[in-house]
Symmetry: C2
Subunit: 491 residues, 2 copies
């Protein structure tokens, strides 16, 4: 049987049922319907960890942005890889579709069901398996919350190479499945470099053990890369091994005001030159972002009003050297007039306060209105032109249009708030944003992934050849298509 | 028709025909035999670039170690992706097997034919397509020689993130296809992080354009990773985009003597702590390596005689700071007695002289005798135990047994020289080395790849599930198996 999806999509405080307006109508796949005997099987397998309570399920069917497109009636909470394996083996035999779910903090609808998919939550799989202080390699289950891993590692003089705003609730398995980027990518590289090993359960329940802790391993095709950014469509990630850097002994954060985007770019050039190997983050935001965090979250502007702001962080092994480098950088930035106001922090609480301005922009946007969110990669030098163009076209029809993001990685977060969702507006806005991105040979998703919300635009920047190979790999690993259906690939 | 392979394997100055002794007998695949009409087609397609001269072909059928397992009668030298596409389309239709070849510097028999495969050389595809000094992104054809790219980039204030001994002749397409590691991986990460985009021609001639220059792109399965380390079995890499770091403004190299391997490990710990973000290489070699480069290459020991030597390099953005860090590190290393002799260089010619001792070990080994080469990943703390054990068992039957490598990456190069090849010796040696590696959950190829020489041991550290998926991917992308057959996967 096939039923039509009732897509719901909302944003923060504003909710809307977009139904069939925003995306092509999705038809339910040819999966079996859940029967009482299935639930009995799961209850025997996972005593006390089979959830059918509608309130709990409603929360798990709703993502961070408030989207609740589907109506799952069952959530399973395995503790071990073996349990995951048995769940998947059974689902595959019965042709029951499922949605893996970690912290459910994603922004592209990748971790919520679209119809009646069974939710398989990794929240109880939260054990640290091992940590080797010499190699810095951490092995842990997929359900470990990122911040908990940060805290665990800091007790051992190491840090997680990944840091992002949602760290308090996102899980490492979800981070890996999304190939999450975050604010320290400029320093420590992407998860494709720092994730050394992955254990994943395939659609038919087979455990694929790629959980190596080696930094180098050139023995054929690197299969774990498929699960990095695979969004749970090729296998359910149950454990990961990560190379974790030593904790830096010093940290400096400067919050700067720039008079133009060109000055931001020049400041970045100067930072790469003067701060060199100590540079650990280079983030920017525009004046509208600052207005939003001022207004909705009562966060004070750390400097005087400017069209653009930059957060520069350094982390290093020698406090005296790092301070000197930062001072030299700031002095030259001021002298050359790239920067016209700034404040510097080394004290942890002030460092955190400066970071909050940057990290809480998403929250401020969600309080401003219904938010259209874009996460694009563009050539760094042109990154802000898209914001300018979006304002030129849509200023009159929107509440606020803002640009911020990871400048050093060429990653722009363009967000547009409106009083309420409007399908025609969204269509025209997407045409501009994704058309622009495609013309620049950019990426329609720099770090958030594809999920369900970006499937329909993938073809704008990806060739039919590439999409064909992706479909072939999906078919190879999940022939019945039970794993997180309706995600990444369009029907 | 099927013929049996006449495997030849040799090492440096000593050559031997191992024939069927070393590897399971390989049978020629069900490929067509080359006919005069095929050569006519290629001559029309590539005027003057169709090589049938037996002397030239003999050289191209012989790898750096002197192995010449096959007898190709045809080499093609395309200049453009379009030409590669037409070659592959034709070969696929005719079911003609081919071996892609770059600089042919690999150590696992991956770039030479085993039977009559057509050699497709990328040597004429050596154009730099673009370089963006702001982003540091270089786009170039696959046939660019690594050292030439180094030189090109240094004129623009940048460096290649990859550096290795064979840089004078290896090509970037081969580096990428091997996922080459090299001496700076500890600082700049693996090619999985620094290669941003790849263009590859698939078996049927389809061009797969993944040649993005973006640092971040999370739009589904990262297909380019399949070609990184794919050794030309899934597609022929024709162009790459690489993120290149800025050239450091200072470089320090210290060459140190240590009294024990434990002291080497402690020196590494100290280096990570004191040199932190400036550390760009940490290499070690044992006293036998030093004897070999002294004896065969007349390179002087930069310090007094010690059981172990360490080469530590730093690279940074502030010479004064870097010098201070290195001095502090050396002082503490001496005071704690981890290090008992050392010399320091910043002058480029002395830096190069110190590096030569490390980089020319392979050459010295090839002059010492027939060499059995192993490139394994092991837990760093235990890395040298394998050398000790190999000596314990095989000292009496061999000329020299040496250990050196990239300590910071847990990558040991274990080499054993003998007067002449002996199949039984090799079999027993491999049983020890690969058995040990498997028991440590190590990798049988840290950075050299699998090629044809390591195919038979892949199963010792890789699960049948993983090998099955690898076969499925090969089948998906190259159903007729024409691309570099007999490599990576066993029959």
């Amino acid at each position: 049987m096939e039923v039509e999806s009732s897509h719901g999509i909302g944003g923060g405080m504003v909710r809307a049922d977009l139904s069939k307006m925003t995306h092509p109508v999705v038809k339910r796949g040819p999966f079996s319907l859940l029967e009482p005997r299935d639930i009995e099987v799961f209850q025997a397998l996972l005593p006390e960890r089979v959830i059918t309570d509608p309130d709990v399920l409603r929360a798990s069917c709703t993502d961070w942005l408030g989207n609740c497109p589907g109506n799952s009636v069952l959530m399973l909470r395995p503790r071990t890889t073996k349990e995951v394996s048995e769940i998947l083996r059974y689902c595959n035999e019965r042709q029951l579709a499922l949605t893996p779910q970690g912290g459910n903090t994603g922004l592209v609808g990748g971790s919520v069901p679209l119809f009646d998919e069974i939710i398989v939550s990794t929240s109880l799989m939260d054990e640290v398996v091992s940590f080797n202080p010499l190699s810095g390699v951490l092995v842990c289950q997929a359900g470990c919350v990122l911040e908990r891993l940060h805290n665990y590692l800091s007790e051992h003089g190491h840090i997680m190479p990944l840091d992002l705003g949602a760290k308090g609730s996102c899980q490492i398995g979800g981070n890996v499945s999304t190939n999450a980027g975050g604010v320290r990518l400029i320093r420590y590289g992407s998860l494709r470099h720092t994730v050394l090993g992955v254990e994943a359960v395939l659609a038919d329940g087979t455990v694929l053990d790629l959980l190596t802790t080696l930094r180098k391993d050139n023995t054929g095709y690197d299969l774990k890369q498929l699960f990095l950014g695979g969004e749970g469509t090729l296998g359910l990630v149950t454990a990961v091994a990560l190379a974790c850097p030593r904790m830096p002994s010093s940290q400096n954060v400067a919050f700067l005001g720039c008079q133009s985007f060109d000055a931001v770019l020049k400041t970045f050039e100067l930072a790469r030159h003067r701060l060199g190997e100590t540079l650990s983050a280079f983030e920017f935001l525009d004046e509208v972002c600052m207005w939003l965090v001022n207004t909705h979250l009562a966060l004070a502007n750390p400097v005087t009003e400017h069209p653009f702001y930059v957060l520069v962080e350094t982390a290093g092994s020698c406090g005296r050297h790092d301070d000197e480098k930062m001072q030299d950088f700031l002095q030259e930035a001021m002298e050359t007039a790239h920067v016209s106001a700034g404040t510097l922090a080394t004290d942890p609480s002030k460092v955190q306060a400066l970071w909050s301005v940057r990290e809480r922009i998403t929250e401020a946007l969600s309080r401003d209105g219904f938010t259209y969110k874009y996460d694009v990669s563009l050539p760094t030098e042109d990154i802000y032109n898209l914001v300018v163009e979006t304002r030129r076209v849509f200023q009159g029809e929107s509440k606020h249009i803002v640009g911020y993001g990871h400048l050093g990685d060429g990653n722009l977060h363009l967000n547009v708030t409106v009083p309420a969702h409007d399908a025609d507006f969204k269509k025209r806005l997407e045409e501009l944003v994704y058309g622009w991105t495609a013309r620049c040979r950019g990426s329609v998703s720099a770090e958030h992934g594809v999920g369900t919300f970006k499937r329909h635009v993938l073809a704008s920047t990806k060739s039919p050849v590439a999409l064909g190979i992706m479909r072939g790999i999906k078919q190879l690993l999940d022939p019945k298509g039970i794993l997180n259906p309706y995600k990444i690939l369009a029907d």
